[in-house]
């Protein structure tokens, strides 16, 4: 296709959005059906996921070859940045909502249920025996919930995982410096180290969840502490998984010789995302495990 750099590049019609919509329909429809006990639901959800992953790699691969083919001008670059900006905005709001839920339960609703402030009768009438605590291990009506035998301790896996993620932020910064200094081999080492640290983090997190569920009886159904704990750490884990996949894609591109000191928005976007996920974990580590 003939294209001038003075014009904003508009690709030809594509089937990827339609395929993506079909994949999303299977994924969400299948997942919803499995929640309703349908035997077919899980299979449909997996099929949907496969279609979505295929679409993402196909579509993004096309964008990469357009970028490397020199079709994009600065204005297209600006569009990518605006898209990334909205994506980041949604991510910040997403985590703010979950941190907010934990903060509200911990600082307000639980003390109120125990009669704090002007809620004396709430405590006296609803659960007179209940006294507020966080983490909420002594629940007002424990027969309704899976009561944890113990909590996940800050020393041990959470502290190790914090060190792993902080180290991965440092190795990613090393790769970033190497990009500007045109040292591609250092870039590759830095990226491989970052990906490896991310994968080890996920391994520890999976082990931690198995320990919490199997040994501690700390579950999603362990009241407001269990649900907010797993929501926050679980969605964070999903983000690390996604970030690792994105880092692997960037590594493949680096190996193929993509990115220059003047043209590397994809690298920057993924690097920023990884740093963001790292900061979310640091916030979690401090707020959930340390400072009360």
């Amino acid at each position: 296709m003939q294209h001038s750099k003075d014009q904003y590049y508009v690709p030809e019609g594509s089937y990827w959005p339609i395929l993506g919509s079909i994949g999303m329909a299977f994924l969400l429809g299948g997942f919803a059906s499995s929640l309703h006990g349908s035997g077919l639901g899980a299979g449909l959800a997996v099929l949907g996921l496969v279609i979505v992953v295929f679409m993402v790699f196909g579509w993004m691969g096309q964008v990469v070859s357009e970028s490397e083919g020199g079709y994009y001008n600065q204005q297209v670059g600006k569009s990518f940045r605006i898209g990334m900006g909205w994506f980041i905005f949604s991510e910040v709001m997403f985590f703010a909502a979950f941190f907010g839920a934990m903060f509200y339960a911990r600082e307000f609703s639980i003390p109120w249920l125990a009669g704090e402030g002007n809620n004396m009768w709430t405590g006296k009438l609803l659960w007179p025996e209940f006294s507020a605590s966080w983490p909420l291990v002594n629940m007002p009506n424990p027969e309704t919930f899976a009561v944890p035998k113990a909590l996940v301790h800050a020393w041990g896996i959470p502290a190790i995982n914090t060190m792993l993620l902080l180290a991965s932020g440092a190795t990613l910064t090393w790769a970033h410096w190497a990009l500007y200094n045109k040292k591609r081999d250092h870039m590759i080492y830095g990226m491989v180290a970052t990906i490896t640290l991310g994968v080890i983090f996920l391994g520890f997190q999976a082990y931690e969840y198995a320990h919490a569920y199997g040994d501690l009886n700390l579950k999603m159904t362990s009241g407001v502490y269990g649900s907010t704990f797993f929501l926050l750490t679980g969605f964070h884990g999903f983000h690390v998984t996604l970030g690792t996949v994105m880092l692997i894609c960037i590594l493949m591109r680096i190996i193929r010789g993509h990115f220059t000191p003047d043209n590397h928005f994809a690298f920057e976007a993924v690097a920023w995302y990884w740093h963001f996920v790292d900061v979310v974990w640091l916030g979690l580590f401090i707020y959930v495990y340390w400072l009360v």
């Binding site: 600065q74 940045r81 605006i82 990334m84 900006g85 980041i88 911990r106 003390p111 125990a114 006294s131 507020a132 605590s133 966080w134 983490p135 291990v137 002594n138 909590l151 301790h153 800050a154 020393w155 914090t162 060190m163 902080l166 932020g169 440092a170 910064t173 970033h176 410096w177 500007y180 000191p261 003047d262 043209n263 928005f265 920057e268 976007a269 690097a271 920023w272 740093h275 963001f276 790292d278 900061v279 640091l282 916030g283 401090i286 495990y289 340390w290 400072l291 009360v292």
Partner: protein, 81 residues
């Protein structure tokens, strides 16, 4: 475990919050530079480098505070009876 929220604890809370605000500021300015800077600008990378340096320092400070006995992990607010 119920632990005593002493004077050091309040000070540590302020220091940790200060560190964290600086980390958020560096991350936010890296985002701003990524969105607006001309190609070839290194400001985003430098902001991210400050971000990771501050994060490592904060982690080290928390470990140090624990070692000094100023804070305890897994604290429980209120009564655990």
């Amino acid at each position: 475990m119920v632990f005593n929220l002493g004077r050091e604890y309040v000070l540590i809370k302020i220091i940790v919050t200060g560190f964290f605000l600086f980390i958020l500021y560096s991350l936010g300015s890296a985002l701003y530079y990524m969105m607006n800077d001309e190609p070839g600008s290194q400001r985003m990378m430098k902001s991210l480098a400050k971000r990771i340096a501050a994060s490592i320092a904060l982690f080290a400070f928390i470990m140090f505070s624990y070692w000094m006995g100023w804070i305890q992990p897994d604290g429980v607010i209120g009564s655990t009876e």
